[in-house]
Structure formats: C-alpha cells, structure tokens
C-alpha cells in the first residue's frame, strides 16, 4: 500500500543503498526542509482560503469566487501580491528587532512541526518527550509577538503585544494541564506512544466526561494561545487597528499572517493527536472487523481530517463570538479555566490510577 | 405648566427682562448689561432650581448674528413638567462675551466650544475654551454674517 511511511522508508533505503551515511543524512535533511516549506506554503494557502469560505457561508454570502474556479486561486493572488508589495520599514522602529520578529515567529512555527506524527510512521523527529517539546517551543512564539510590538514604536502595537504576552502565558497553564491529563492517562510524553495507546478507542471516548472537559479547556486555551477570536486581543482590529502588526506591511505582515495559521494547524494537530488519536483510525474496543475496515482509510487522511475538523471548530468560534475584554480574558483563565483544569487533572489521575477508563 | 402661566411666572420673577410669547414657547430676552458680572449664572440657576420651573435640560444652545449684535439663544426644558422656554441674551458685536453655563448644564461645555469656534463669543469661566471644529490656525468665525473666505467659499 502506498503510504507516507512506505515512501519515506523506501526513499531512505534507496538512498542508503547508493551512497554513504553522511550524504544520505544531508540529502534527507534537505528533503525535510523542502517538505516543510512546501507544507507551510500549502497550509497557508489552504487555511486562509478555508477561513474565507467558512466565514462566507456562515455569513450567508458567497465568498471569493472570481479568481479561478470557486475562487481557489484567491489566496495565491493575495500571497503573490503581498510578496510584490513594497518592502517597507518605518523610520522610528528598532530596526534589528523589527526585522527579527517575523523570523522568530516563523522559526517557532516551523520547529513545532518536528514531532508531529502526520501519518503512521511518518514523523520528522520521534522525540520521546514530544508533548513537552511542543509546549516548550510554542511559548517562544510570544517572544516574537512581543518583539514585534515593542520594536514597532507604535502605541497600538505595544498595547497589543503586552496583551498578547499576558494572554499567551496565562492560557499556557490550562493548556498545559489539559495536555497533562492525557499524559497521565497514557504515562508517556512520546506522541507516538500516546497515539498507540488509543488503538482501542480515542481518549475522548475512553476517558468519560473529565476528558471532555479537558478537551474543551484545551480548545479554549489554544484558541487563546493562537490569538484567535474571541481572544484576538493582540490584534483587536476595532480597538487597536492591527495590534502588534500595525506597522508591518507586505511580506513581513504575510509572515505573521502565515505563522498564525500554521500555529492553528499545529495546535489542532496536537489536539487531534491527544484526544482523537492522531492518525489512528476510528477503532472501537475489540470489534476487529470494524477496526479492520477503518484501517483501509490511510492514516494521513485520518490525521488531516481530524485536524481540519478542529480547525473548523476554531474558525466557527471566530465567526460566532464577540471578543472578550482583556481583563475578562484573564479572569476567565485565572478564575475558571485554571481551577477547573487543575481539579480535572486530579480527577483524571484518579481515573488513570484506578484504571476506570475503558 | 401651560405657556401662559409660565409667561406670568417669568414676568413676576424677572420684571426687568423683556418677555413675550414666541411661536412655541415664552421667550425671555436680556440685554447684556442686565446680566453682566455673573448675574447671568444667577438667572439660569434660578430657572433651573426654582420648584415651579425646574428647567434642568438645556436642549439647544446657539447664537444668531444680527449684524449689529449677537443673540445667544438657550432652549430650556424641564424634564419633570415638560414645559420649555427660550432664554436670549443680547451681546454686543465688538467684544461678545457671556458667562459660561458649563457648570450648570454639562452639555454646554461642548456647545459653547462650538459657538466660540463658529461665532467667536467668549465664554467666561469655561474650563477649556478652544476651537473644537475648525483647526487651531483658522482665521475668523465662519457663521458670522460678515465672514468672507474667497478661497474656500465658491458662491453660487
């Protein structure tokens, strides 16, 4: 069967057969880089297009439909235009940080891709502390945002960046607790182990209501962490015009824009992995026949299907809810999400220890 | 209170002002000399706090340039009794100034800034009297009848 695993393994074997180890590694690393860039570009185009279409249908309108059939080249045109826009930098900015910020954001987004299990046996780096790695790296992105906001020498940017900082660091806690509850259930930080532990059913079905609560908290927290509405404090168009990227235009703005969508993809991928079994097909306990039928659907489709469903949910949030105010946002975290997730974690620990889950 | 009754009461209270029944409401007209030196504030306070009047709602404040003099026009209403009246003060054309009502009616603060801007009437005691609508460097007061701006104004 043609799958990502077979392709990557086949490629590795073929390369190993014809040359020595060092060039193989180099070629593979180049291939990884190329694949990552392609994935980035493709995801950016697809997600922005998806966002616009989802928004359009929810808002009873058609959405982009004039550039290519169904408007599928709309985002391509946008990207091309942004690239060809004047490469412009205001005079009063802190030049070094201003230029560095988009890179920081992009590098962070790229790095989190490393432990992502896109399909069965298809992962860039099978690190044994995958979950921990993801939480650690994802907190770096706030530095990029803060850097951008500070360097812009613009009051709106600064306010947006400060908001964003407070918001991301706060919501990381409850996101962390939600992730921990799955770690407690599986007893491993390795993303592959977590997926394999869901062979007889995804955690969302196995773990009773506490896992649902953890999932909901996870979704809320990652929506906030990615600065998405209703938590888009950092941008808050109607308040701060553009927030931290007010002074960014053209390609640099495109990078922020892209990174935002990649981050959504990543957190939804993590969510799908933790709660919905990543590439693991839909299995029910020991119904071998049923499970076998499900296995016919390639694992990559499972992964992307679940991820895109979660992305859709996050978009659905955005087009339904009003924005919170910054103090309410922090209130929500400190007063509701944090205590609930903390106690939920303890509850899940009890379930894990007692083995009450299915 | 009906308009006639109101008229009587006003006449009783302000015997030296010229009071007449306008098209809609009683009109109370003061010469500037009558209300100079802070007396105008007293008049307004009386109108606002006398139990029979309670004119607590200044719903329109404006000015009319009569070429020889300015007329400040205050439209007052009582939100309790729903009767209204017009208070007018005649100001001289050379150096028009009058007491600011911004501490009696808070809305007057912005209205007076607008009138200062467009008519050039100085409100003594106003907390922040500067142009609000036109730019700071604008010359002249455009709603005056003698205002002429050949650059910006194209006459039809």
């Amino acid at each position: 069967m043609l799958s990502f695993e077979n392709i990557s393994h086949g490629l590795h074997n073929w390369l190993s057969a014809i040359m020595s180890e060092t060039p193989v590694v180099l070629i593979e690393l180049t291939l990884v880089a190329l694949a990552a860039i392609t994935l980035f570009a493709a995801l950016g185009l697809i997600l922005v297009y998806m966002e616009r279409k989802v928004a359009a249908v929810i808002q009873i309108r058609k959405g982009p439909n004039r550039v290519g059939p169904m408007g599928i080249f709309q985002t391509a045109a946008d990207t091309l235009k942004l690239v060809m826009k004047e490469n412009f930098m205001p005079d009063s900015v802190d030049k070094f940080l201003y230029k560095l910020a988009p890179f920081v954001v992009m590098i962070t987004a790229m790095l989190i891709l490393a432990p992502m299990p896109f399909a069965q046996g298809f992962q860039i780096w099978n690190i044994n502390i995958g979950v921990f790695y993801v939480t650690a790296i994802s907190s770096i992105s706030v530095i990029g945002v803060l850097m951008a906001g500070w360097a812009s020498n613009n009051k709106y940017s600064l306010l947006g960046a400060m908001r964003s900082g407070a918001q991301i660091v706060s919501y990381e806690l409850s996101a962390g607790f939600a992730i921990l509850s799955i770690v407690a259930l599986t007893g491993s930080l390795n993303l592959n182990d977590i997926i394999l532990s869901q062979q007889d059913g995804w955690w969302i079905f196995k773990g009773h209501i506490p896992v649902w609560i953890a999932f909901v908290i996870f979704m809320i927290a990652v929506t906030a962490e990615t600065n998405r509405a209703p938590f888009d404090m950092a941008e808050a168009e109607s308040e701060l015009t553009g927030g931290f990227h007010t002074e960014y235009g053209g390609m640099r703005f495109a990078l922020f824009f892209l990174a935002e969508y990649i981050n959504i993809f990543i957190v939804c991928g993590i969510g799908a992995t933790l709660f919905f079994g990543g590439w693991m097909p839909f299995h029910i306990g020991h119904w071998e026949g049923f499970n076998h039928v499900m296995d016919y659907i390639p694992s990559s489709i499972w992964f992307f299907g679940k991820t895109f469903f979660l992305i859709f949910v996050i978009m659905w949030f955005r087009w339904t809810f009003p924005r919170l105010r910054i103090d309410q946002l922090l209130n929500l975290e400190w007063k509701y999400l944090l205590p609930i997730s903390l106690f939920n974690l303890l509850l899940i620990t009890v379930i894990a220890i007692k083995g009450w889950h299915f | 209170m009906g308009n006639d009754e109101l008229l009587e009461k006003l006449k009783e209270l302000f015997p030296d002002a010229s009071i007449e029944q306008g098209n809609d409401w009683p009109e109370l007209l003061f010469e500037h000399a009558q209300v100079a030196d802070g007396k105008f504030l007293e008049v307004v306070q009386t109108l606002k706090s006398t139990n029979e009047f309670l004119f607590n709602y200044l719903f329109c404040e404006t000015c009319v340039d009569w070429k020889t003099h300015f007329n400040m026009v205050y439209h007052l209403e009582s939100t309790q009794y729903r009767h209204s009246m017009v208070l007018k003060v005649k100001l001289n054309h050379e150096q028009p100034s009058i007491d600011s009502l911004s501490f009696v009616y808070r809305t007057a603060e912005m209205h007076e800034r607008e009138i200062f801007d467009l008519f050039g009437i100085v409100f003594t005691g106003h907390p922040n009297l500067k142009r609000i609508i036109l730019t700071e460097d604008w010359v002249g007061h455009p709603l005056r009848k003698d205002y002429d701006d050949p650059i910006n104004m194209i006459k039809l």
């Binding site: 004039r66 080249f73 946008d78 826009k85 553009g242 235009g249 | 455009p142």
Partner: protein
C-alpha cells in the same frame, strides 16, 4: 463603461498557451504580478460619511465584495492597497487623508466614491470647509459618481480598477487611452 467580464473566473494571464509550433510559452512575469495585484486589493477601513454606509452595504451579504477578494479590510494603511474615499473630505481632514495615503506602501490605488469625494458634490458651493474634490490632495484612480453610489456602482468601480491594474498602465497613460475611447 461596459463590463467585459462575464465569466465568473478570470483567465489567468500566466496560463500555459499552446503555440502553433507545439511548444508552450509563459506570458510575462509582469502580467502575473498585475493579475495578482488586481485580484487582491485590500481596502483601508476609511469612510467619512454617507458613502461609507453604502460601502458597508457592498460588504454585506447581498452584494458581497469578498467575491473579488476585497473583503480583507485592513485598519492600518501599512497593509492596505486601496483607499476608498467614501465621503466628504474637509479641510481639517485633508492632511489626515494625505498622511494615510502617504503611509501606504506601493503600489497603492485610490477610489473616489460619490459626489463629495469627486468634487465636493452637494457641498461645492457656499461652504467654507469642504475640499472641492479629493484629487486636489491625493491622486485618484477611479471616480464613481452618485450620492451615494449604489453598492453595485462600487463593485463596478472595483472592476474598473482591476482593469486598470491589469493593464499595467500609469494613471496618465490610462487616462489618455480611455479619453480617446470616450470613456
């Protein structure tokens, strides 16, 4: 002006075309870039008066200017491509408008929407504070008459602007060309 575009998808200028020799040629890079620019015109959220409401109507579900890819209204000029002057420009506003226009990165376009933006419109005579036409302050690419113009008229203007961008001509060139055509 007649609207020439009737099929929903615009032809991609960089598309592969068959030549008699059997080979393929790519059209010029410039055409591709102009194609991208014309299809991705992000407006600045800028409205001064009545025409702004019709601009909102054009954004609303019934007219939906997102079909053209215009819906990404940016609040900051750094990310905007077109400034739709929707409403009267008065003397106090003129420096602000100039500043906003100046702060936009190139390439940038201007649409003057409605009588006020074109010429001062209803406030042309006997007013002391109205700028008699926004093109006294910043160069304007497309003028839409109307007070306020219908949302469809705005869409028409956007299509006109797209045509201009796609032709790759400068303001003066296109003016000269279309004056001959009697447009």
């Amino acid at each position: 002006m007649d609207v020439k575009i009737t099929q929903p998808s615009l032809p991609f200028p960089g598309s592969i075309q068959d030549t008699p020799g059997g080979g393929i040629v790519l059209s010029k890079l410039d055409d591709v870039i102009n194609w991208a620019r014309s299809n991705s015109v992000w407006p600045l959220t800028f409205a001064t008066s009545c025409c702004g409401i019709e601009m909102m109507s054009a954004a609303s579900a019934k007219y939906d200017f997102s079909r053209f890819g215009f819906e990404v209204a940016r609040a900051t000029p750094r990310q905007a491509d077109v400034i739709i002057i929707a409403g009267t420009i008065v003397n106090k506003m003129a420096p602000v408008l100039k500043r906003l226009y100046d702060q936009m990165p190139d390439p940038k376009y201007v649409i003057a929407m409605g009588a006020c933006a074109i010429s001062g419109g209803p406030f042309f005579y006997n007013t002391y504070s109205v700028v008699k036409g926004a093109d006294h302050i910043i160069p304007v690419d497309v003028y839409i008459a109307g007070c306020p113009p219908r949302p469809e008229a705005l869409l028409h203007a956007l299509i006109t602007l797209q045509e201009k961008i796609r032709s790759g001509l400068t303001r003066d060139q296109i003016r000269a060309q279309f004056s001959e055509d009697g447009k």
